[in-house]
Symmetry: D2
Subunit: 268 residues, 4 copies
C-alpha cells in the first residue's frame, strides 16, 4: 500500500500543478491514498470554499491545514461542510472544523484500511496554540483503537520542535511529517521505534519565488523593512512531498521516499 503526501499547495500555480500531475503520480507510484496540505492554496493565504471544492474534485482524500487556515474569513463558516479537511487540532476549543479524522482507504484487494490523519501546529516562532505534545495525548487511545495507520502533519517552524515531536510519536504514529517552512528537508528516515519521519516535506508551488511569493517583492521587504503587498511568483513550479510504503499485514511503514519534481514553465 502506498500513500502520497504533498506539501503546502501554494496559490494558482500549486493548484494547477496538482491538477495536471497528480493523476499521473498516482498511477506511476500506485498510490492508494493522497493527502495534501492546503493552507496556502488560495493566493498563498488560506483556502476559499471554491478552491476547497476544486481540490477535493481531484483524487485527494484529505486536506490538512496550518497557521493560515482562517485567512479566508468565509472558511470559518464553510470548513464543516468538508469532512476531508483537517485543521490544527490544537486551536483552543471550541473551534470550527476538526483536528483529526479517520478515513477509509479501499485497497486493490478491496480491503479497507482506516487511516487517521492529524494536523497539529507547533508553538515555537508560531502563534501560541495549545501545547501540541500535550494536546495529542488524550486522543491517542482513540486513534490507536480506531485506525490502522496514524499520519500526523506537524505544521511548525523550528526544527527542534519538529524532531522532538517525531520522537514523541515514535512507535505510535505511522508517520510524522513536517510542513510550513516550504522547503523540503533531506532527513527522511524511519525512527528507532518504527515511525517514518521528515522535518519538512516542502511546497507545491512556484519554484523561483521565495516560499511562494514573487522574489522581487520579498527582496524589497528584506532590504527596506517596509511592508509590501505579496504576489504569487510565476514561472516554473515544484511538486514536493513524500511517499510512504506500508506493509499491509503489519500496518507498518517500510519506506519513506521524498518526491521533488520540477515542472518547467510552459512557454507558449
Amino acid at each position: 500500500m502506498n500513500i502520497l503526501i504533498l506539501g503546502d499547495i501554494y496559490g494558482r500555480p500549486g493548484r494547477k500543478a496538482v491538477k495536471e500531475k497528480l493523476p499521473q503520480l498516482i498511477t506511476q507510484y500506485q498510490i492508494d491514498f493522497t493527502i495534501v496540505n492546503g493552507e496556502n492554496a488560495s493566493g498563498g493565504n488560506g483556502l476559499t470554499t471554491k478552491n476547497a471544492k476544486e481540490l477535493l474534485n481531484q483524487p485527494i482524500d484529505v486536506v490538512t491545514m496550518g497557521n493560515h487556515v482562517w485567512q479566508q474569513k468565509e472558511f470559518l463558516e464553510t470548513i464543516e461542510d468538508f469532512p476531508q479537511i483537517i485543521r490544527p487540532l490544537n486551536y483552543p476549543e471550541p473551534c470550527p472544523g476538526k483536528g483529526y479524522g479517520i478515513f477509509e482507504c479501499r485497497l486493490k484487494n478491496d480491503e479497507i484500511k482506516k487511516i487517521a490523519v492529524v494536523n497539529l501546529s507547533g508553538q515555537i516562532f508560531m502563534p501560541a496554540l495549545d501545547n501540541p505534545f500535550n494536546r495529542i495525548s488524550p486522543i491517542m487511545d482513540e486513534l490507536k483503537n480506531s485506525a490502522d495507520l496514524v499520519l500526523i502533519d506537524f505544521h511548525a517552524e523550528a526544527t527542534s520542535e519538529k524532531i522532538a515531536f517525531g520522537y514523541f510519536m515514535d512507535g505510535f504514529a505511522t508517520a510524522v511529517y513536517g510542513t510550513h517552512t516550504h522547503v523540503q528537508t533531506a532527513d527522511e528516515r524511519i525512527l528507532p521505534l518504527g515511525t517514518a519521519y521528515i522535518t519538512d516535506i516542502g511546497m507545491t508551488g512556484p519554484l523561483d519565488g521565495v516560499i511562494g511569493v514573487d522574489r522581487e517583492i520579498i527582496l524589497e521587504t528584506m532590504l527596506t523593512k517596509r511592508p509590501k503587498r505579496f504576489e504569487t511568483a510565476t514561472g516554473a513550479v515544484q511538486i514536493n512531498g513524500i511517499m510512504l510504503e506500508i506493509d499491509e499485514i503489519e500496518n507498518k511503514v517500510i519506506r519513506i521516499t521524498r518526491l521533488y519534481e520540477t515542472i518547467e514553465e510552459n512557454k507558449k
Copy 2:
C-alpha cells in the same frame, strides 16, 4: 576543483566524526578546500580556544560561526589569534574577529585560487544583528576584486530570509549555503544566474538527538515548558554538508551535491 563544506560541528561527537572521517572524505572526493561551521563545536555552545586549535589541526581551511560565536567568553579574546575563523559579518562594529576573509587554495596544478569566505547571520527569529542584505553591499567590490570565488555561510532560521539572500547574491557569489537549523534541506540547486544555493547544509553531530541535544531532555522541556540543562546526545553520528564542483577556468560552480553520511555507534 572541489570544495567541501560541513554543517555545524556539534560537541564532542561532531569533533570526533570530523577527526575520523574528514581525511577519508577529502581523498574520496578529491577535495581542495574545506570549510566547517564551528559554532556548536564545544558542548553545543560556541568554540573554546582549545577546540578551535583542535579543529584547525585537521585539514580544515576555514571555520565559520553563527549566533553561538560568543558563548565561550574566552573566545572574545582569542578569536583574533585565528585568522581562519570567521564570525558573522553583521555584528555591530566594533567587534572582535572578522566577518570575512580571503584565503588561498593551492590546486593540484599549483595554481592559487583566492577564496573569499563570508559569514552572515539572518534577522528573522534571530538576534537583531545589522541587516545582512545591506551589510554585504559595501564589501562586494572588494570581494569581487580580490577573490576568484565567493562562498557565503548564511546562518539563519527562516527559509524565506535564506532563499531571498540566495537570490540577492545570485550571479555574484559562487555559493550561498545556509546553516543554523541543523537539518539538511533537499533544495540544492544552481540559481538562474549561476550561484549554487541550499537552504541548510545540516549538522555534523549526534544523529539521534534533537539538533544535537539529548532527546529526552528536549522532550521534557517541550512537555513541561520548564528549563532543563542541555546535554549532548550520544550514539550514532551524522556528517552533513555539501560539495561544490568548480570550473577552474571560469571560476564558476558546476555542481552542488549534498553529503549526508551516518556513522553507527561503536559498540564496544
Copy 3:
C-alpha cells in the same frame, strides 16, 4: 481592609528594601494582607530556597512568581514546601507547586477573609505556556465559592494581552494586576464591572539599573549584540506596588492606589 502588593523583588537590593521598609508601609497604610512577586528575588533569577524562607520571614502572606520561577533548579524540589508561594497556573500539568491558593486574612475585627491569589503567565513575547484565558475558566467556580476576594497576578509582556485579561476578569476578580515589565504603569483604575486593574505594578529593586541589571552591562549588550553576564545594579532602590482598599461588607475594591517610593543609597 487594605491589601499591599509589591512588584518583582529584584536581587539583594530588592530583598533589603523589603526587609527595611515593609513593616513601616504596613503600619503607615494599615495593611491587612501583603503579596509580593518573587520571581527575581535571587540575583534576578528565580528564588532560592534560602531566599524563599527569608521573604516568608517578613510580614508577607503570599509570594507569586513568573517566567523565572524555575531558574533556580533546586526550586522544582522545594516549592511544595512553601504553600504561600504560587507559580503561574498555566504551566502544563503535571507541574510542581500550585497556580493558585486560598489564604486566610484575619481583620482587625477578627473576621476572617478568604483571599484567592492566582498567578498566570501571558503568551505574547513569552514562553508558550497554556492559554491563560482558557486555563482560568475551569477554576472560576471554585474561586467564587471558596474565596471572598480574588487577586490575579498576570505576569506578561504585551499591554494588549494584559488589558484584555483585565476585561476578561472584570466583574469576577477583585483585582487583576500586571507584573514582569518591571516598570510601573499609570493606568490604574476600576474597570466598568468593578475589578481593579493596572497593567504593571513595577519592580522593587535597583532604581538606576535597567529593569534590575547594571546599566553599563545592558548598554554594552545593546550596542554590540554580544552576550554578557548580568549583574544586579547598585545604588538607590525603588519600591513599586499597589494598594487596594476593600469594602469589607461588599467584598469589593473601592480604590486602587499606586505606590512608588525611592530610597537613596546609604552613603557610608
Copy 4:
C-alpha cells in the same frame, strides 16, 4: 518654555480628542511647542495623507511615527510633502521621509529655540530595523550643533531597551520618551545627567478598548487564537502625554509631568 507631547493618536476618537482639547491644553499649560505620535491616527493603522493634513491643521508642530508608518501605502509617496512628519530614523537607507528634523519654536519673548525631534524604533519584539543605539551616534554632533533642545521619541516594546536608550542619551538629549505600548508608565524622572525620561507616554484614543481596538474583538482573538478584523473601540477617550518644562537660559529640562486625562463619552 513648555513642551507638550501626546502619545499615539488612535483612530477617529483620538483625532477628535486632539481637535477638541488641544487648544485648551495649550492655553492651560502655556505650551510653546507640541509634538504628537501619529502612527495610529488613521483607523489604528498608519496615517493617510488626509489625516496628516488634518493633524497639521491643529496647533501641532511635529508628528512622529513608529512601526505603523507605512501601513497606508500612499504615505510612502506623500510623506515628503510633510516636513513636520518624522518617521523612525533607523529604517534602512534609502527610505522616504526623514528620521529627524530641526524645528523652530518662537517663544513669547520672540526668541527662537531650535528643537531637534528624532524618532527611533526599538528592535526587541519589533521589526529588525537598524540598531537604534548605533544609528543615532553619527548624527549626534549635528544635533548638538544645530539644536538647542533634542527630543527623542523612542518607539519600542521592551522596557529594557527603552530604559537602556534613556541612559544612553542621558546628558545629551533633553528628553527621551517612549511610545508604542499605548499604556502610560509612571516612571517619569530626570536621569542622573539631566535628560528627562519616561518609558511610555501612553495613547490618545479610546479608553475602554484594548490599546485602541474594540475589546470584544481582542478578547475573541485571545480566546480562540483565530484572526479577526480589528475595529476601533468606541466610548470614552483618554488623552495621554507628557509636558516638559524647559529652562530657557540653560536649555535644560527642569520638570517632566505626565498628562492623563479622560473624556467621558458624549451621551446624546
